[in-house]
């Protein structure tokens, strides 16, 4: 009996084991991958690089975890990344403050999230259809706002802010930690998490039990839009420009994969925020290690697909039991 419970517990840690396994594999197979040193007041090394590069996917995937836990999906996140990047770039041009840049980006993201939520909750459209539509439209809007050019954000206060290194850590990682803390607090310490998981598990029963299912699901889309907007700001500040055509392209797929590797069921009813971050790191370890090997991109795609299949198979309770 106790061992059954232990096994179930063990299965829920599968993403962590996959992360450790992926890191060890990368470290053994890739020269210099495991090296990590303190140079000029900051960390340098592949492991550190993985964390920084995973930031956009981590931010998006945190928001997406909430949407998926509510039984929905949001395909528009990649377009929101582009849209919010353009918004931030336009707002921070001509010496605009970092605050204005973040504000503009968040406004873009929350707006799209509210539209998604309205389509799904208000009109009752299937989430995959509604957000597929906004995914297309929002990228168009982003390109329209950018006027068909890449908007530079060099020399703005935004780049300086995100380039800051409090405690030797990049500001973008602090942003991830802050968003995680916010969502985790909402989930664990307020009723929101319970409402969300109940709505995702069985919306009919949740509604009868007095859960404001519509409002809860609407909130997840808004939160996901906001999280994607933050990712858009980070992505834009990294390349010091907002590229409406290619920023965040296919990011929704990586974000969904991160959520799946983390073991949040796509059928809804469970939100595993920390495991989602782990999932995003697994994906980035793969990408970085394959890059360091100089493997051709198409080979990298095969490896990525295989790892995703393996990780999601291991996250299934029955498999977890079989190997434990």
């Amino acid at each position: 009996m106790a061992s059954e419970r232990f096994r179930a517990k063990l299965a829920s840690y599968t993403p962590l084991f996959v992360l450790i396994g992926a890191w060890l594999l990368a470290a053994v197979a890739t020269p210099h991958f495991a090296e990590l040193e303190w140079r000029d007041g900051r960390l340098v090394g592949a492991t550190f690089d993985v964390c920084v590069r995973a930031v956009p996917v981590m931010l998006v995937a945190l928001g997406l975890t909430l949407v998926i836990a509510g039984g929905g999906i949001d395909l528009s996140v990649g377009s929101v990344v582009a849209f919010a990047g353009v918004g931030a770039a336009l707002a921070s041009g001509d010496g605009g403050s970092a605050f204005a840049a973040f504000g503009a980006a968040l406004a873009c993201g929350v707006l799209v999230g509210a539209v998604n939520g309205g389509l799904v909750v208000g009109l009752g459209l299937a989430p995959i259809v509604a957000t597929l539509a906004t995914m297309i439209v929002v990228r168009g809007v982003a390109q329209l706002c950018a006027g068909g050019v890449i908007v530079p954000i060099d020399r703005s206060a935004l780049v300086a802010t995100l380039g800051a290194k409090p405690l030797g850590l990049p500001a973008s990682l602090v942003l991830v930690a802050a968003l995680f803390a916010l969502f985790a607090t909402l989930k664990r310490r307020f009723g929101f998490g319970l409402y969300l998981e109940a709505s995702g598990d069985n919306p009919r029963a949740a509604r009868l039990a007095g859960v404001p299912v519509g409002r809860v699901l609407f909130a997840t889309y808004v939160a996901c839009g906001g999280a994607s907007a933050l990712a858009g700001v980070v992505a834009a500040s990294e390349i010091r420009a907002a590229d409406a055509a290619s920023a965040g392209l296919y990011l929704e797929l990586d974000a969904i994969l991160a959520v799946v590797i983390g073991g949040t069921p796509l059928s809804g009813g469970r939100a595993r925020l920390l495991a989602t971050l782990v999932g995003a790191l697994v994906l980035q370890i793969l990408a970085t290690a394959l890059l360091m090997h100089g493997l051709a991109p198409h080979v990298a795609l095969f490896v990525k697909g295989a790892v995703v299949l393996l990780a999601s198979a291991l996250a299934r309770p029955s498999w977890g039991r079989a190997i434990a």
Binding site: N202, R207, G210, V211
Partner: protein, 504 residues
């Protein structure tokens, strides 16, 4: 010769040993009842017999041949047919498609519709049902759907037919028809296993009765040579505590007054009042509108109109959330679809009830766990707080819903068939708990198909017939209720009493 033999069947789930070395045999042409409390292992045994669960160890023999059914289809190939407690038709498919699912008459272009429908009609006709087989399954009432499931199982001509609480959603007439059919099949040599909660039904139909307790077989009895009392004692392990039987009524003034509660096409205007601490009964045949009324009362359906007065103050109730704010909560008829979040834990489902009252307060998992522990103890739920509700037996699931309702500190609980699929022991516990709550001032609207339960609990009973209020009886007997439910032959005397009570 035995048609079915089970030897030392053992099956464990995380945290429980559901079956512990069960031996069991069924003779050809016999109707063998399987009884026990919730969690005794009846349903698990039925699942093992129908291929839904594979035993950890032990042997299954059909007609002397060892079989190991991997899934329901495989079980059928081994000669083990099944009729489940919950209707398992595809709601969107037609009755004909459901009846012949997986055995459709095929041609090179696909399914031969005309033959499909003809065969379906014949299968239903044999069962005494005359229905348009092209209608989607969801368009016929739940009771009829169950009959179609049974017709389908019988059409498969199995060696052994396993019924897992087949009568749970059937009306009395339909139960009688099913029993007649079962007797006919028994005469033709079919072995039948009947998993049941109603001992009355068990004694009406079974040749032998096997009692399970805590996953073990307590004994097998000849129905003719034993009594319901002896069976209940075997089920409970000797400790037969009689439920305190008392009717609850009150002279207190009505605190809830609902006028012209209605929904186009589903419920004609109904007036009802509930007093503090009153248990109000609500009865009607399947499809009479009683579930509709229950749902309308707590704002669960769209398009409902009516005037609610709570403590004399007019209020508007448009959703279950708003209803809960005034203390009106519902335990819905269909536990799994409407009642519970099966993927969540016992703790989470119970905490859901208390959540509304503390919406902006910081939550702690420990407080939730304490709340859950308290209700688990109070209602005698056989589960751990962190167990997923989907893994519990039907009776324990019902108790989790009750715990959630009580955790919301309600003023009126609407219980739609709360004792369906719940064993005798748990049923009396539930009844006792309801009576206790009423004593503390909680009002109850009690909806049940089991009329003796209703008259035992409620002094005042509303009767619905064909989506309208047929009348209201005080201190009625089950036959009074039955007459009023059926309509037509209500005696003048009864009608007068009904009117009198209504005008009060």
């Amino acid at each position: 010769m035995n048609a079915l033999e089970l030897a030392r069947i053992t099956k464990s789930f995380p945290g429980v040993r559901a079956l512990d070395g069960v031996d069991f045999e069924v003779r050809a042409g016999e109707i063998h009842a399987l009884v026990g409390q919730n969690g005794a292992g009846k349903s698990t045994l039925a699942k093992v017999l129908t291929g839904l669960e594979r035993p950890d160890s032990g042997e299954l023999r059909v007609g002397g041949r060892v079989v190991e059914p991997r899934d329901p289809r495989d079980a059928l190939a081994c000669g083990l047919g099944a009729v489940h407690q919950e209707v398992d038709l595809v709601p969107e498919f037609s009755l004909a498609e459901n009846l012949l699912l997986g055995r459709e008459p095929r041609r090179w272009w696909g399914i031969e519709r005309r033959e499909l429908e003809a065969r379906a009609r014949a299968a239903l006709a044999e069962f005494g049902l005359d229905l348009d087989v092209r209608r989607p399954a969801k368009s016929v009432p739940l009771g009829v759907q169950q009959l179609v499931c049974i017709a389908r199982a019988i059409a498969e001509r199995p060696h052994v037919l396993v019924y897992d609480e087949p009568t749970a959603s059937l009306e009395e007439r339909e139960v009688e028809r099913l029993f007649a059919e079962m007797r006919r099949l028994a005469a033709s040599g079919l072995a039948q296993v009947f998993v049941a909660h109603s001992l009355e039904q068990v004694f009406a139909i079974a040749d032998r009765i096997t009692v399970l307790r805590d996953g073990r077989r307590v004994g097998t009895f000849e129905a003719a040579a034993t009594t319901p009392h002896a069976i209940v004692e075997a089920m409970l392990g000797g400790a037969l505590g009689a439920a305190p039987v008392r009717r609850v009524a009150t002279d207190a003034a009505a605190w809830l007054d609902v006028r012209a509660l209605r929904r186009a096409g589903a419920l004609e205007p109904v007036d009802l009042t509930v007093a503090r601490g009153e248990v109000l009964g609500l009865v009607g045949l399947v499809g009479s509108g009683r579930t509709e009324l229950a749902r309308a009362l707590v704002g669960a359906n769209d398009g409902v109109h009516g005037e609610w007065r709570v403590d004399g103050r007019a209020v508007r109730i448009g959703s279950p959330r708003e209803a809960a704010a005034f203390g009106l909560v519902l335990s819905p008829e269909d536990r799994k679809v409407d009642g519970l979040c099966l993927g969540l834990t016992v703790r989470e489902n119970i905490a859901l009830g208390a959540q509304r009252r503390a919406r902006f307060a910081l939550q702690s998992r420990r407080a939730e766990a304490e709340l859950a522990e308290r209700w688990i103890r109070a209602l005698g739920i056989a589960a751990r707080p962190e167990q997923r509700v989907g893994t519990l037996s039907g009776g324990n699931q019902q108790k989790v819903i009750l715990a959630r309702l009580f955790a919301a500190e309600p003023r009126l609980v609407v219980l739609d068939e709360p004792t369906r699929g719940v064993d005798v022991g748990a049923k009396s516990q539930l009844e006792a708990r309801i009576a206790e709550c009423a004593e503390r001032g909680l009002s109850v609207l009690f909806i049940s198909s089991e009329l003796d339960e209703v008259v035992r609990r409620a002094r005042r009973v509303l009767v619905l017939r064909e989506r309208r209020l047929a009348g209201e009886l005080v201190d009625a007997t089950t036959s009074d209720l039955r007459r009023m439910m059926a309509g037509a032959e209500a005696s003048p005397d009864e009608t007068a009493r009904g009117r009198g009570a209504h005008g009060e």
